[in-house]
């Protein structure tokens, strides 16, 4: 098994989906001969022809609307929004049609389609290229919202998304595109399905809940904490909608403490939802408030300053430090240099 990047795994997932099901189509801006600005669609036009992977005019509402019509007509379109903020022109199509069509036709018209959105920052991108927009979609009933944090999940969750009977917003953490892992698409599937979170690392003292780009940060923090004798459990949500309450709450009930990690600006983000749910469901197990570690409530900052904005392991460890372990002399406080 050779190492594969997340971008390559996504490419393989598209390729395999196109092979497996002739109803699958890929289109968007620059996804044809160029292979997408992140090369996720590399080689698809060549292998499957222009009918099945093609460039469209430059209009995101048109792209999503075209996908709606094609899905109504029996296809399974997978469209690419070039960057997070460039999906906003399609917001009406997404919120008013993609999300609502099944419901407003009582299940008679379904829209099995995937909207791929490279999202979040950490790549030194200029303005409008690093928004974290998952909350907009997660707040919109009728959409499923998914984000992989590992190469394996990138492959399998995208296959799942394409096979799913419902529209899926597939959020790809840009900064993980180049992260590699030993993975073979043809190997036995180990990844669980849609709607299931996984415990990426077991721990006793507190639970870190993360998704997408936050997961490696959580793992890094847990690693650093371990060196100090603090045992952190890391839960990777994988799908934001549907939400896996089961996995999250059983972890928090076990550890009694919880920090939620989200790169997006904090206010009314997905992290707020997680914190609200966890305290609703685990109140009597909690030894401390559920804390959130998020980006600031500011437009995504420029390359020179993004390090100040992005939640990193240090910020996570600071939060862990505020989890009121005073009654737990066995847990040492974490110092900043720990990471």
């Amino acid at each position: 098994m050779t190492a594969m990047s997340m971008a390559q795994a996504l490419n393989a997932a598209l390729r395999d989906a196109l092979r497996a099901d002739e109803r699958v189509l890929v289109f968007g801006e620059d996804v044809g001969p160029l292979g997408g600005v992140f090369r996720v669609t590399d080689g698809l036009t060549k292998e499957f022809g222009e009918e099945r992977c093609f460039d469209t005019p430059l209009a995101e509402s048109g792209i999503v609307g075209l996908a709606v019509g094609m899905a109504m007509g029996g296809f399974r379109p997978v469209v690419e929004m070039q960057f997070d903020a460039f999906a906003y022109p399609a917001f009406e199509q997404i919120a008013s049609h993609v999300a609502k069509t099944r419901n407003r036709t009582r299940g008679r018209v379904t829209l099995p389609m995937v909207i791929r959105v490279p999202f979040a920052g950490g790549i030194g991108g200029v303005e409008h290229h690093c928004d974290s927009s998952e909350a907009y979609y997660a707040h919109t009933p009728g959409l499923k919202v998914v984000t992989p944090a590992t190469v394996e999940d990138a492959y399998w969750l995208l296959r799942d998304a394409i096979a799913d009977p419902d529209p899926v917003i597939f959020m790809e953490p840009k900064r993980l595109y180049w992260s590699k892992e030993a993975f073979s698409p043809s190997g036995r599937r180990r990844a669980p399905g849609f709607g299931q979170a996984v415990v990426r690392r077991e721990g006793r003292d507190a639970t870190l809940v993360a998704y997408g780009p936050g997961v490696p940060v959580a793992l890094q923090a847990a690693e650093a904490a371990a060196a100090d004798g603090v045992s952190l459990e890391v839960v990777d949500l994988r799908t934001i909608v549907p939400f896996d309450d089961e996995t999250v709450t059983s972890s928090v009930r076990k550890t009694g403490r919880c920090v939620v990690i989200q790169e997006a600006q904090g206010f009314a983000g997905v992290g707020a939802e997680i914190a609200a749910r966890v305290q609703e469901r685990c109140f009597h197990s909690l030894a401390a408030p559920v804390l959130r570690v998020t980006g600031f409530d500011i437009p995504y900052p420029p390359p020179k300053l993004e390090h100040a904005h992005l939640p990193d392991a240090d910020r996570v460890l600071d939060a862990v430090d505020r989890l009121q372990f005073d009654d737990r002399p066995d847990v040492v406080h974490l110092s900043r240099e720990a990471s």
Partner: protein, 364 residues
């Protein structure tokens, strides 16, 4: 591109017309064929039916049986011609205003009014009827229509899609994106603009400075035409040509019909705030149904008995609508959770239980 090619995309300088306002025939323009006599007779029947249906629906709003109704009064020639130009395998993408078209397409009238009576779904089965759900967010359906046309083309179906849109809707970005996508993809789709001169209260002059909306086509390489929308013969002729063009691989076609919204925007609107009676009266003189009736009678295609028969059928139809809508639709609150996703999420299952607890709580 040669001048000739550009000219081939532009609409006629004046709206195509076959029948004058007084019902007499005018010289048919080159390139358009008069519809067959039987088709005109059928159109007449459907226009009578459609108008009666429309009047019935409006009446039902006053009795509170419909939440709201956007009337088609004055636009029957457009809506009936739109439907008659299509074959059974073709798809129609209507707006909220196009109830008469749906009835002409043969859909159950009570189903057509499902949403407007306060239920949440479109009533009919879109795939069976090849009619998309009526669309409220303006112009969004025009892009869906292109998608469907591309789907049909890819499946090797010989079918065409017609998207209805209003004059106001042409101002939305989606209308432009739809025309552009269709132009580039050469999709078999006909965009049919019912220019009824108003978008709620906003008159055409505030909507566009174009010589006519049909002049938008050339900017997308889309062949275009404008037509007198109150002349059934002309609308049907032009749309038939547009559908043929699209079906035979000529690509998309944009048709603008000049018509008029005789009623207020919906029963909830007060049109006296923004237009005067005089204008409405002027348009009443151009009534599409009276015009077709005169034309058909003068050409001997319709007699008094035919008129009576059409009206009686329409009365019967209206009675069915009335009866159907007087029965309260059954709405099941638990169904709120059933169609959000193929399978309810765990969250929705919990919420369903919460609602169940509320609904079954003892009323102490």
């Amino acid at each position: 591109m040669s001048h000739h090619q550009v000219a081939g995309l532009l609409p006629a300088p004046d709206p195509v017309r076959f029948v004058a306002e007084d019902g007499t025939a005018v010289d048919p323009p080159a390139g358009y064929r008069a519809p067959a006599d039987e088709q005109l007779a059928e159109a007449y029947r459907l226009m009578v039916l459609g108008r009666r249906f429309d009047r019935q629906a409006t009446a039902l709003t006053k009795q509170g049986r419909l939440a709201v109704y956007p009337s088609s009064l004055g636009q029957e020639a457009c809506q009936v011609a739109g439907v008659l130009a299509l074959g059974a395998d073709d798809w129609l993408f209507p707006t909220y205003r196009d109830c008469v078209a749906l009835v002409a397409r043969g859909l159950d009238p009570v189903e057509v009014l499902t949403l407007l009576r306060g239920d949440w779904h479109c009533g009919y089965d879109p795939a069976a009827a090849r009619v998309a759900p009526q669309c409220t967010p303006l112009a969004t359906q025009t892009v869906h229509a292109v998608g469907m046309a591309e789907a049909l083309r890819r499946k090797g179906e010989d079918a065409v899609v017609m998207a209805f849109v209003g004059d106001g809707g042409t101002s939305e970005g989606d209308f432009h994106e739809a025309l552009n996508f269709a132009g580039v993809l050469r999709s078999p789709v006909v965009f049919f603009v019912q220019n009824n001169k108003y978008a709620i209260s906003v008159p055409l002059a505030r909507q566009t400075a174009a010589p006519a909306l049909a002049y938008k086509g050339v900017g997308y390489g889309v062949r275009s035409e404008q037509v007198d929308g109150n002349d059934l013969v002309a609308v049907l002729s032009v749309l038939t040509e547009a559908v043929r063009h699209a079906r035979e691989g000529g690509g998309p076609f944009l048709v603008e019909a000049h018509t008029y919204r005789m009623d207020a925007h919906t029963n909830a609107d007060d049109a006296t705030r923004y237009r005067d009676d005089e204008e409405v009266e002027r348009w009443a003189a151009a009534d599409p149904l009276a015009r077709l009736e005169t034309y058909l009678r003068e050409r001997g295609l319709l007699d008094a008995a035919g008129v009576t028969a059409a009206r009686e059928a329409a009365e019967e139809f209206a009675a069915r609508v009335r009866d159907g809508l007087n029965a309260d639709p059954e709405t099941d609150p638990y169904e709120l959770f059933d169609h959000v996703y193929a399978d309810p999420t765990p969250q929705l299952r919990e919420q369903r239980e919460l609602l169940a607890a509320e609904l079954t709580a003892p009323e102490e």
